[in-house]
Subunit: 196 residues, 4 copies
Amino acid sequence: MSDSDEGAGRAAQSKRADARRNKETLLDAAAAVFVTSGVEAPVRDIAAKAGVGLGTIYRHFPTRADLIIAVYRHQVDACAEAGPALLATSATPHAALGQWINLFVDFLVTKHGLAAVLQSDNAGFDTLHAYFLDRLVPVCTQLLEAAAAAGEIRSDTDAYELMRGVGNLCIGADSDPRYDARRLVELLIAGLRRPH
Amino acid sequence: MSDSDEGAGRAAQSKRADARRNKETLLDAAAAVFVTSGVEAPVRDIAAKAGVGLGTIYRHFPTRADLIIAVYRHQVDACAEAGPALLATSATPHAALGQWINLFVDFLVTKHGLAAVLQSDNAGFDTLHAYFLDRLVPVCTQLLEAAAAAGEIRSDTDAYELMRGVGNLCIGADSDPRYDARRLVELLIAGLRRPH
Amino acid sequence: MSDSDEGAGRAAQSKRADARRNKETLLDAAAAVFVTSGVEAPVRDIAAKAGVGLGTIYRHFPTRADLIIAVYRHQVDACAEAGPALLATSATPHAALGQWINLFVDFLVTKHGLAAVLQSDNAGFDTLHAYFLDRLVPVCTQLLEAAAAAGEIRSDTDAYELMRGVGNLCIGADSDPRYDARRLVELLIAGLRRPH
Amino acid sequence: MSDSDEGAGRAAQSKRADARRNKETLLDAAAAVFVTSGVEAPVRDIAAKAGVGLGTIYRHFPTRADLIIAVYRHQVDACAEAGPALLATSATPHAALGQWINLFVDFLVTKHGLAAVLQSDNAGFDTLHAYFLDRLVPVCTQLLEAAAAAGEIRSDTDAYELMRGVGNLCIGADSDPRYDARRLVELLIAGLRRPH
DNA sequence: GATGAATGAGTCTTCATTCAT
DNA sequence: AATGAATGAAGACTCATTCAT
C-alpha cells in the first residue's frame, strides 16, 4: 500500500494506523524481552509480552534478524551518524575513533546476546550481519583512514575486521563482573597506534 | 593398579586396553565432529562417527564438558607448559607473552565453537570453563607480571580478563576469511605496552 | 472474555470451539490409553491415539498430573459432591460413609495405575496428589465426624489416612480376579465400628 | 555340583567357598541398597555396593525377582514359621492372626518399595509373587480357619485376598508420617470379626 | 490482518542386559 | 567364574514455524 492510498477510506487508514501501532508495540516488547532473555529469546515470549499473536510477529518480521534489526535500527543509525561528528569535534582522528568505538561498545554491551549472534554463522542472521556491516563499516573506515592520514595509526587495518573484533570483545560482557569489554577494546584501539 | 598385576590381570588388562583404544577412537571422532559441527554437536553424531553406542559416550564422558576437556586436554596442557619456556627463551617478557598468546590463539581458532562455549554462562560448561582458567590464567599471570616487572607493560592488567578477551577474539575466526583473530590479538597485546 | 464479544470474535470463538473439541478428543484418548496402559502411559501413545501431535498435549496439559486431573476431574468432583447427599439420605452416618467409600472404590478400581500413582512420592505428581486430597479428604472428614458424633465409630480416625488406605487397597484391583478391593475396603470400614 | 563332590580338590572347594562368600556379599549389598533406594534400585548400584561386576549378579540371580527373594527369604520363612507358633501360644485364634499379620506388616513396611513390587503385574516379578504367596498364604489360611472355627470371624474370607490387602496397605508406608499402615491393618483385621 | 492451535523434528539421558576377554 | 564395556530401546520435553479460522 503506497502513500497514494492516503485518500482512501477512514477504515483503511485506521487499519494502517493500527498496524503501525501494533508494530511499535511489538518492537517495544521485543526490546524488553531481549534485555532480560537475550536476542534469542523464544518468539512466543515476545508475542506474549506484546500481547499479540505469534502470527503477527511473523507477519511483520519474517525472520528473527528482521526483528532484531528493527529493534536496534535507531541506535545503530545514531551510532553511524555520530562518526563524522566526532571526527569534526575531537582533538585527533585517533581520539575520534576511540570515542566512536566506545559508543558502539556501550551499545553492544547492553544488548544481551547480540554480540554473540552478530558473529554466528547461522544463515538466518545473514541480513542482520549485513545490516550492521553496511551501516558501520564505512564509518569505521572513514575514521581509520583519517587517523592513518594523520599518521597516528598504521594504515593496514581493515575496518571490517576491527568491527568484528570489537563486537567479539563485547560477547558475554554483561553477566561477568570480572570482564570489562570497554577496557579491552581500549587496549585494542591503543594497539593500533603507530609504533614510534 | 600397579604393573605387578600384570600376571593375574591379563584379561582385565586387555579389556582395559580395548576400552582405552575405544576411548581414543571416541576422542578422535569427537575431535573430528567438533571440527565440522562445533563442540555442541549432538551426542548421537559423535557416537555415530565413532561407531559406538550412545551409552559408550556417556560412560566415558558423563557430561559434554568432560568430553570437550578430554579432547583438548593435551593441547591446553602443552600451551600452559610452553609459558615458562617462552619466558626463558624470548628476548623480552612482552615478546614471550605475545608468543604464548599466539600459541593459545592458534589452538582456539581451529576449534569450531569452542571459544563461544568458553564464554557461555550455561552451567553445564562450568567445569570446562574452570579447567581452561585453572590451567591458563596462572601462566598468563606469570607472563604479565614478568613484563610488568620489566617495565614493558602497565601493571594493571588482569590475566583472567585478558584471556577472556583473547578467547572472545577467536570466536568465529574460522569460517570468515576476512577476519584474522591473530592480527587483532596482536593489536591487543601491543596495546598493553606502557605508553612512553 | 464475556459473551458480548460474540459478534466480534466469531472466528476466535470458533477456533476456541475447535480447540475445546480437540481438548475433549485428547481427554477421551487419554482416558482410553489410561485404561489399557495405565496412567503412566507414554505421552506419545496418547498423542497417537488422539491423532494429534506431541506438542498439542503439552500445550493443553503441561504436566502429566494436569492431564490425569483433567481426565478424572468430573468423576472426582461427583464423588466429592455425593458425600453430603449420602449423609442426608442414608440410614446412619456409618452407612453413608460406607456407601461413599464404595463410590470412591468403584471409581479407583477401574483406573489402571491411578491408585499406584496416587501414593507415588514422585514430585511430578504432587499436584495430582493435592487435588485428590483437597477434594476428598474434607468430605471424608465430615462423614467420619458425623459417624463419630453418632457414636457409631471411634473418633480417632484420620480421614487422610483412611483415604490413603482405601486408595492403597485399590491398587492392582483390576487385573487380579482373586482380589476384590471392595470386599477388603468393606472390612476396613467395618473395622472402624466402635467396639461394644 | 552335588555334595558328593565334597571330596574333590582343595581348589574346587575353595572356589565353591569363594562363590558362596561372593553370593553372601551380594545379598548384604542388595539388602543395604534396597533399604536406601528401594527394591527397584539400579542393578549397577548393587554391584558397586558389593564390589563385584554386573555379570556376577546376573550369574547368581538371573532376574531381579530371584535377588529379592534371596534377600528376604529368611525373613519370609521366619514369618511363615511363626504362624503355627502364635496359634499355639495366643489367647485366641483371632489374636494369633492379628499378631501374625503384624509380623508381616513390620517386615513389609521396612522394605522400601517391596510392597509396591509385590502387586506389580509386571511378568518379571511373577516368581517373587509366587514365592510370597506359596509361603504365606497357607499359613494365613490356617489362622483364618482356626479363627473361623472358633467362631471369632466370618468364614468367607480368602487368605490370598487378605494377604494382598495387607500388602497393599503397606505401600508407601515409609516416607509418609501421616500414614500408619499398622493402624489400618488393625482396622482390617478388626473388620473380620463376626458381627454379633 | 490477526490469532494461536497444532505440528513434529531434534536432543538428551537412563538402565537393563549381553557378551568378549 | 568374574568382569565391566558396550549397546540401544525408551521416553521426556522444547520451540520454530505453518496455516485454518
